[in-house]
Point group: C2
Chain length 223, copies 2
Amino acid sequence: MTTVEAFNHQNKKLAWGPQIDLSGLDYLYPPQNVKPYTPPPPGVDNLGISSTDSFLVPNVGEFTVNFEGYVRVARSQPTSNEWNTSDVFTNLIDMCMRGEESGIGEIIVTLNPDVLSTGQLRTPHADLACEKPSKACRMAVGALFKMPLLNLTLFNKEPIELTIDDVRMIPPAGNPGEGRIYQILPLFHRENPDGLPAAYLTSLQFRMGHYITEAKIQGILQG
Amino acid sequence: MTTVEAFNHQNKKLAWGPQIDLSGLDYLYPPQNVKPYTPPPPGVDNLGISSTDSFLVPNVGEFTVNFEGYVRVARSQPTSNEWNTSDVFTNLIDMCMRGEESGIGEIIVTLNPDVLSTGQLRTPHADLACEKPSKACRMAVGALFKMPLLNLTLFNKEPIELTIDDVRMIPPAGNPGEGRIYQILPLFHRENPDGLPAAYLTSLQFRMGHYITEAKIQGILQG
């Protein structure tokens, strides 16, 4: 992320949650020593990610696409040094995932620059008194789905809610996660944003990867 | 709704879906003859609503509140005259619900005027070829939760997703519905919108009421 991009990040017009001050945060690459059940110092995690998303295009059909890519997640200073009661807030500050599907061609998923995608790791209320509770992770994401073959870019107006349960360390590398989509989440044409939905996201299953190098990230960006 | 309010409605900055042109739409009150499995002409439905919402306030606890009130829902021209393939888009243009809970006092839920709350009725893709399929209804809502006793107003940044299944007529008066909340939906202080979440909505069950009179609506508004 360039300084200009980081600056723009700090001046988003629409945010779904608290904005994290990126100044002074280290970008974290492998190897990292992540301690379980321990609130970590703040930083920016560079992680792999894979996702299987299903789309419904009215009058065309449903199709399912496997994606591979990376995310950069900025984490706040935990609200407490104690695992059970600490909240950690997150901003998804960069993402690129690539997938391909016959007939549709390549789909490139990136962050929507008009939205600040935000999240939170928190111990479920009912588990606060447990000895070593797992945390629950949630993030509200605004994405662009670029389809070069169709000369089309879709985006969501309601956030895509990504959740990871059973989080025993931060970041939850290797954990499976789910997009909490109830039947349909409308997607809109970027060039006709006020029009009717052009397609729908109907399901999303993902898996957080582990720390990856900047060279691998640049490889994903270049496709 | 006054002309000025309607004008403001047409100029929302943030919309979660398509905006409905309110000009020329009739406000519909009882009695109404609603035909099942029939795409209706556009209009504004004035309906009763009841809801049971649970809130989590960190370091205070969880509490559940029963609400009663009304909604005004603007409906678009259906995209087709045929029930199965028709989509109907909606805007929630007015809402007031009142509930009370010991310790917290009265809670008044109204629309967030900074957001256009939008929704859609649509036949699930898998049911398109059925003879008389039920439709699914979804709406993304931005609300204010005013708590006069605590001198506090909370609001949501991510939409509250309300869904109604098994819709056999439009509007789905009398149908039960659910807020699709996965564990927690953050709520923020209206006077500190960029701060950390002040509370969480943890569940929401509602029931659409039937057409109600303007006199009853005014009674709800006056409390």
